[in-house]
């Protein structure tokens, strides 16, 4: 990488790429910065992005089902288009297209919308899994469409979609390093680009980044599991 070559040439003394494989003191030194980068960017983008994706995904799924055909078709193909193009491309396009917006906002919007299109597919499957008899019962009781969706269809659809939604949230989390493409110094960019690039010590920073990801993903997975069990009906 060019930036590394420049750094290496500018250095007064050549950095010794040898040294111990693992330096505890160095790891301890960089930990606060890494955690800060994690909280500031990775976590913020994932949490807000997941909320946007969960809500927008449901809206997309419902719109495709209730809109008149031509409009539903437009929404479906817009959703397919976003889902089938790489998230890095979307980040870069929107970053240069909306220069007045800050990179973090762009990142949140792109992650939220991109994953919303995935979640819409999950919701769609969930909605289709609600038995026909449930819809018929709402007709027999003259329930209006809003009430039908809100009290009968969505609660039952969500039950089967929780695991997939959780997996996409974790997947989004692991995609956050793509933010480097629009200059957001999230945790991995910090570890590889800034810390590794200037000190030539990668082991500590990259390992810590991995461990932080694991420490955040694992409890999330457990939480989703609990939620799934809680939403299951008593048998």
């Amino acid at each position: 990488m060019t930036s590394l070559n420049i750094l290496a040439q500018e250095a007064d003394e050549p950095v010794d790429p040898g040294g111990p494989w693992w330096d505890w003191a160095f790891a301890w030194d960089i930990l606060p910065d890494m955690l800060l980068a994690f909280l500031q960017y990775t976590l913020v983008v994932t949490v807000t992005g997941t909320i946007i994706a969960a809500v927008l995904g449901l809206i997309i799924a419902i719109l495709i089902m209730v809109l008149p055909k031509p409009l539903a078709w437009i929404v479906r193909w817009a959703s397919n288009f976003i889902r089938m193009t790489p998230i890095v491309v979307q980040l870069i396009l929107l970053f240069w297209g909306f220069l007045w917006l800050d990179a973090l906002t762009i990142g949140i919007v792109v992650f939220g919308v991109h994953y919303a299109t995935y979640m819409a597919e999950v919701y769609r499957a969930g909605i289709e899994s609600v038995p026909q008899g449930q819809w018929e019962a709402t007709t027999a009781l003259s329930m209006n469409p809003v009430r039908t969706w809100r009290k009968v269809v969505i609660p039952q659809a969500l039950r089967s979609t929780i695991p997939s939604l959780g997996n996409y949230a974790i997947s989004m989390f692991k995609d956050t390093p793509f933010l480097y493409a629009i200059g957001v110094t999230e945790m991995v960019t910090l570890a590889v680009g800034e810390i590794g690039g200037t000190t030539f010590r990668y082991n500590e920073a990259v390992t810590i980044a991995g461990l932080i990801f694991l420490a955040a993903s694992y409890p999330t997975a457990i939480l989703i599991n609990r939620l799934e069990k809680r939403l299951a009906y008593a048998h």
Binding site: P131, G133, Q134, E136, A137, T139, A140, L141, S142, M143, N144, R147, K151, V152, P155, Q156, R159, Y233, A234, H235
Partner: protein, 278 residues
């Protein structure tokens, strides 16, 4: 056959009459229902008077259930007209053209009709009480207090006074069906459609459910349209039995007549097959 009305003397003509007579609660006029190329009902004409209990019998695929589903607007009517209390349910004749009625008008009529399904179709994400009070509160606009009080008395009536807070999945099939009956009755329907309500139940609980429906029949004036394979029940509760085959009415009449001395050979064959299997 629809009873002729004396109020509209001018309307009595020899032509096939597409205007409803005033007395029937349900009236089918030249009803046709097709699924693609498959014609399930054709040129079907019959009517049900207020408070009358009519049982539809016949082999599977004869169109009985389709008739109930048409009344509940669960199926689209592909030809002819259905009138509820003299008002067009899905299509009406306007200057010789068959046009759809407004969704609003249809919804208004639909609130007078209740249905109990073979598969119960209770909402599994709600408690028993919520299942019963949802529509009275949010469709009929009743107060929560009244709806809950009514739900408790209906649960009492169907023999499940202590299940208000249970979830449907924790109940047996027979209990679920009793809740479904309570849910339908909570809307105070003028018309109650019973679609093979005991077919999915264990044999030992069938009688419990039928006993409740007998009681409803005896204590209320609700018009009932019943599809069932329980011939003893049909004989006990109905004023009229209609035998269907291939989308046509083979014969109709008082249950005593139909079950003991049917005119048509097709009816005799069907009954001996059904009763023989019992």
């Amino acid at each position: 056959m629809p009873t002729p009305t004396d109020s509209t003397a001018a309307a009595t003509s020899a032509e096939p009459d597409t205007t409803p007579s005033e007395n029937p609660v349900i009236e089918f006029v030249d009803v046709e229902k097709r699924f693609g190329d498959n014609v399930v009902l054709k040129d079907l004409n019959f009517s049900v008077a207020r408070g009358e209990r009519v049982t539809l019998i016949g082999p599977s695929g004869s169109g009985k259930t389709t008739i109930l589903r048409l009344v509940m607007t669960l199926e689209e009517l592909t030809g002819g007209y259905i009138y509820i209390d003299g008002e067009a349910l899905s299509h009406e004749d306007r200057d010789g053209r068959r046009v759809e009625v407004s969704k609003k008008a249809q919804k208004q009529l639909r609130t007078r009709i209740g249905m109990v399904f073979q598969q119960f179709n209770l909402f599994p994400n709600m408690t028993v009480l919520e299942n019963i009070t949802e529509a009275p509160i949010h469709v009929l606009g009743r107060s929560k207090k009244d709806a809950v009080a009514k739900a408790h008395s209906l649960l009492e009536q169907v023999g499940l006074p202590d299940k208000a807070n249970a979830h449907p999945t924790s109940l047996s099939g027979g209990q679920q069906q009793r809740v479904a009956i309570a849910r339908a009755l909570a809307m105070d329907p003028e018309i109650l459609l019973l679609d093979e309500v005991t077919s999915a139940l264990d044999p030992e609980v069938v009688d419990d459910v039928l006993a409740i429906l007998r009681q409803v029949a005896e204590t209320t004036n609700v018009t009932m349209l019943i599809v069932t394979h329980e011939m003893a029940f049909a004989k006990d509760v109905s004023h009229k039995v209609m035998m269907f085959d291939g989308g046509h009415v083979v014969e109709e009449g008082h249950p005593d007549k139909i079950f003991s001395d049917p005119d048509e050979e097709r009816t005799q064959k069907f009954l001996s097959a059904v009763l023989g299997n019992n």
